[in-house]
Amino acid sequence: MRTWEKLRPYSMVAPAIIVFSLFFIYPIFYMIYLSLFDWNFVSPTKTFVGIQNFKDLLTDPDFRQVLTNTSIYTLLTVTLTTGLALLLALWLNRKSFFHGFVQGAIFSPHIISLVSISLLWSWLMDPEYGLLNWVIGLAGFGKLDWLSHPSTSLVSLVIVAVWKGLGYNTLVFIAGLQSIPPDIYEAASLDRSKPWTTFSKLILPMLSPSIFFLVIINMIGSFQVFETIAIMTQGGPVNSTNTLVYYIYEYGFRFFKIGYASAAGVILLVIVGILTIIYFKLLSNRVHYR
């Protein structure tokens, strides 16, 4: 009896633990293990190379370019999505048919598959026949190369990501705004608070949970961007849109350098891990929860 009493809780959590270990913990450790080998995915022998893969990675100018690309992409996507979503939410946070319609329209990209979105935007951004260049032409400006020139390709991908993420972000902000009781605004107006003061001193701090949630979700998402790149640019032109996950995919499943790809995966893991730790540190200290 006593042993069963002791074992019962463990037996209850066992299924979850087993699934979690099998599909989350084990792959992570296996990836770290593989990152120390040279292996081509099919050969029965793996050659131990120590930290050679990491050395190669960090001296590879392409990889450095990939890290820079990923950072720029993440920075732009996160700031633009969160910032624009906040502005939109402030505008849409009222009840009318029009505002409800706009809210729904902005949200719709969120439920469309990224593959469809990538194809759609490839067509929109086509330098010759694309809708965007046609509109720009009507406005009297010269055509843009969008995805086909290294100077604009990364920004073009950012536009797609922002377009896709905006609706969800706006929705989270609207939910945050609606959880603020209306008498706070009234108390502020009786306290002679100017609109900007009300926003910066009261509303923004009260939205901090939403802001931090979105920033971290967007950050992790952007660091792992893959579909749009695989479909729209394949990392080109001249490596200008190659990002971390696409790089891992190429080395792992096209060049079959599993050890090398795993090493890049470990670096991604470390980066996302650090971001998450920072996030939780900030969460506990700076974010207001009721």
Partner: protein, 356 residues
């Protein structure tokens, strides 16, 4: 300090008229309580004075100045909200300081004002805490301090005690009365609780369906209600009301038709002797509530259920009792609920015996 005048105020929400042609003068330095059932327009009236709601028609004057187009912050009113409406991201100090900062008051003076106020309301040890770490009573004090520190002309309080437990509510009630004495500022207070209104206000405005029923001192309201609504609204238990047609053995001499006759539960006498002349009702006691100093009986009579309240008397144990209400304690109301004055009544018994 300020006098507030509402002139021909009306308020519509879309198609629904909440208040129509409301006229009211709130005396300078008074503790005026707006009281009425929920949805009677008392909170709306209050919010219009504060400027949080714009009236559809009419004028609001504070201190001989029309404030129709003055934004809330510049009306020199301070408000205490039902849910306190404290700024949750700011400390107690920040909450109190916010209004002062927006007025451009220098830091040294701010510090002094905050220190004084928090001493008065007993918040000094809690100045650096966030509102969510305070109890209900402490939050209430922060809301009060935030309002007081601005030294406004008018204090507006919208059901500020309704979120507190009974004991704390009583305590805050006396504190508010003392605070009003000390500051001498005009207080406008909204509540649905007539006990709160009676105990705090020196001027009570009874409202129903957007119309002022009576504006008077508590004593006048109790002893001299202007209509059936006020009579039934003030007092616990409420005034007993009988349909004029159901009365028997009473002769009423009145210039106008009598719709209802009422009496206060505390004026009725159980088992009174024959020497007291009054209207008599027999009935069966349904429930007895013994509160120590007073007992409340619910009595089923031929004309309906009514209440009787006795003070410092032993609990009545008989199942059936005779209740006498002295004629002088009867209130008469017309068919439209208006109070009828100068009505006389006497027993009909002799006339009945002789006639039939």
């Amino acid at each position: 300090m300020a006098k507030i005048e509402l002139k021909h105020i009306s308020k519509k929400f879309k198609d629904e008229t909440v208040i129509e042609d409301l006229n009211l003068t709130i005396k300078d330095g008074s503790f005026t309580v707006l009281v009425g059932p929920s949805g009677c327009g008392k909170s709306t009236t209050l919010r219009m004075v504060a400027g949080l709601e714009k009236q559809t028609g009419g004028e609001i004057w504070i201190d001989d100045e029309c404030v129709n187009d003055t934004p809330p912050g510049l009306r020199d009113v301070a408000m205490v909200f039902q849910n306190y409406a404290l700024y949750p991201t700011m400390s107690v100090r920040g909450n109190i300081e916010f209004g002062l900062k927006n007025r451009g008051i220098a830091k040294r003076e701010r510090e002094k004002l905050i220190a004084d106020i928090s001493e008065i309301v007993g918040l000094t040890p809690h100045l650096n805490k966030k509102p969510q770490n305070l109890s209900g009573g402490q939050r209430q004090r922060v809301a009060l301090a935030r309002a007081m520190v601005k030294q406004p002309k008018v204090f507006i309080l919208d059901e500020p005690l309704s979120n507190l437990d009974a004991k704390l509510r009583n305590q805050m009630r006396t504190e508010l009365i003392q605070l009003h004495k000390r500051l001498g500022t005009t207080f406008v207070y909204v509540t649905h609780d007539q006990v709160e209104a009676m105990s705090m206000g020196d001027e009570i405005v009874v409202m129903n369906k957007g119309v002022i029923q009576q504006a008077d001192t508590p004593m006048k309201l109790y002893h001299d209600p202007a209509n059936r609504f006020t009579a039934e609204f003030i007092g616990t238990p409420a005034m007993n009301m009988m349909n004029g047609q159901d009365l028997q053995g009473i002769e009423i001499r009145s210039a106008a038709a009598v719709g209802h006759v009422g009496f206060r539960p505390e004026q009725a006498l159980i088992g009174a002797g024959a020497e007291i002349e009054g209207y008599e009702i027999e009935g069966e006691i349904l429930t007895r509530e013994s509160l120590g100093a007073e007992n409340i009986y619910q009595i089923q009579s031929r004309t309906g259920v009514f209440f009787v309240k006795t003070f410092l008397a032993p609990l009545e144990t008989a199942a059936r009792v005779k209740v006498t209400i002295p004629y002088g304690q009867l209130y008469y109301f017309g068919l439209n609920g208006e109070r009828l004055r100068g009505v006389e009544a006497s027993s009909k018994r002799l006339a009945a015996a002789g006639g039939r």
